[in-house]
């Protein structure tokens, strides 16, 4: 009964992701566009500095970003029983954007301050959505949280609009806009250290609970009859995936579509059970995000915001999957 495809393909995925990582170290625009020959890396101290100080932290962050968004997307789609949910939907992305804007306008433009403010507001949005959902007197858990998420997201999005409107168009607005388009251009080792604990916890907890996630995707009464502590287990998964997403969004800006599309591809390749599709989604997401970031920093002489690239590629993949029946939306209760 073992999933044969999984056993066959996972080693290739693992080798693939290591390959992408190693290649990405040498992909860039120094000393010339697209590729740094090995001897340059060996002989040119500036090239080595560039790789160690700039590319490596950025690359590891891209890897973590892809893994976290895909893992969070997989988990949230399953526990919300809705294949169109993505990690930012509980207001986290818009909350983080609002936090970043607050910091850029009024607090401090130091990256660490922006990150802390974005993480704080991202988590505040989650807490707000969760609290609001407990006050709604009708509908199941899924409907209540989805409604609350939409409302909180809209509130923060309005807040971001106001801040954009009053931002100084010469100094603050461009920085704000660029932050929201998403990108890893400014990531340093310090940023990486900031997100590392959130990311590792998020990835670790979802990985060890991956079989259990299947159970949480069933009807509430069925999951209860199978011994699940629904509230507690869902809250644990929400907390770890969303805080990892919030922390990464704080340094990357809003990166859409990875968390939506990669879980679909993983389920299509390895079946619906998260026991296999979740680790696969993490690997695919990590590789996708590193490749997208390679494109973002090499395709044009200037940086292309990563969020634009992931949206463009993600939307095309989504259209392809829809047309080829890869996304099977069932009734959700």
């Amino acid at each position: 009964m073992e999933n044969q495809a999984y056993r066959r393909i996972i080693p290739f995925l693992l080798i693939g992701i290591v390959g992408v990582f190693l290649a990405s170290i040498l992909i860039g625009r120094y000393p010339e566009p697209f590729w740094m020959p090995w001897r340059v890396f060996r002989d040119d101290p500036l090239a080595r500095q560039l790789v160690l100080k700039l590319r490596l932290p950025r690359l590891i962050t891209a890897l973590l970003l892809g893994m976290v968004l895909s893992a969070a997307g997989s988990v949230l789609q399953m526990i919300f029983r809705n294949p169109l949910v993505e990690p930012g939907f509980l207001g986290v992305s818009q909350g983080a954007a609002f936090g970043a804007a607050v910091s850029i306008l009024w607090l401090n433009r130091h990256p660490l301050v922006i990150e802390l403010s974005a993480t704080f507001f991202g988590l505040l949005a989650l807490a707000g959505a969760y609290f609001l959902s407990t006050r709604i007197r009708y509908g199941g858990w899924v409907l209540r949280l989805l409604l609350s998420g939409v409302a909180v997201s809209a509130l923060f999005s309005a807040g971001v609009g106001v801040l954009k409107y009053i931002a100084d168009p010469l100094t603050e607005l461009p920085e704000l806009t660029f932050w929201m388009l998403g990108g890893l251009y400014s990531v340093t080792w310090q940023d990486l250290l900031f997100v590392l604990p959130f990311a590792l916890l998020g990835i670790g907890v979802t990985y060890v609970m991956r079989w259990r996630v299947n159970l949480l995707s069933l009807n509430d009464e069925t999951a209860f009859s199978l011994g699940a502590s629904l509230g507690r287990e869902r809250l644990i998964l929400l907390l770890f995936t969303v805080s990892a997403t919030a922390a990464l969004t704080a340094i990357s800006g809003i990166i859409g579509w990875i968390g939506l599309i990669i879980p679909h591809i993983a389920r299509r390749m390895f079946g619906a059970s998260a026991e296999k599709s979740l680790p696969a989604a993490m690997l695919l997401g990590g590789a996708f995000s590193m490749l997208a970031d390679d494109l973002a920093r090499t395709l044009l002489p200037g940086e292309i915001p990563l969020g634009i690239l992931t949206s463009a590629i993600g939307a095309v993949l989504f259209i392809y999957l829809m047309i080829s029946m890869g996304i099977k939306v069932r009734s959700h209760g």
Binding site: M1, L215, L218, E221, S225, G227, A272, S273
Partner: protein, 262 residues
Amino acid sequence: MDKIISLEGIHFQYDPLDPLVLSDLSLEIPAGKVTAILGPNGTGKTTLLHILLGWLKPSQGITRVAGKQHRDYSKRELSRLIGLVPQFESIPFNFSVYEYVLLGRSPYLNPFQLPGEEDHKIACDALEAAGILHLAEKPVMEISGGERQLVHIARVFTQQTAVLLLDEPTAHLDLQNQNRILSLLKRMAAGGSTAVMTTHDPNAAIYAAEHFVLMNRGRISAQGPVEAVITTENLSEIYQIPIRVEKNNGYIMVVMEKGRDL
């Protein structure tokens, strides 16, 4: 009569402002038998099943299973005792039959554990017992209604519980599939398990069950063996139409009287 679940003086309402769904309801479920719960739409059968499961807590009254109150069990202990086949199980992701049936092992694994070799073996045995081993690799959402009902039952077999609750297990099934499900329940009971099913079909109930519970407006109007419960008077009264209970060669059959349209 050996009872496995008992309810005493149960009152239940979904919201303190709503009317009572169940009022002053007392009930005993005999062990090792199939019990059928009958009654009109909206009379509280599913609610009653959810109270037997422990999923809903009564506003008043005492519920016991295997000698202890429901609330004295942990969720996991309870899930090793009682399994549920719900009326609607929407599965938004396309699990294979095997992946779905394997979830029946959840009560025996902690949230961080993966199923082991023993769990896989039990799942295979359950598929075989339900006669659907050949469907193992098929996506759950792409099999017929009758097969899906067998899959749900196989999932509960994997759970290895003493009690199986089924909410209208034969609804929307053709006669052959109804027979498959009902015979499976009878075989289970013969093997010592307890099954409780709700149904709108008295003949299906008579086919499989030994103990009958008739509900009306949130109360029990009769319970006991077939002759005592499935009578012309009882059924005509709760359904408010003329119904005839006939006995043919020792077999009881329920028919609607013709020509008495509402």
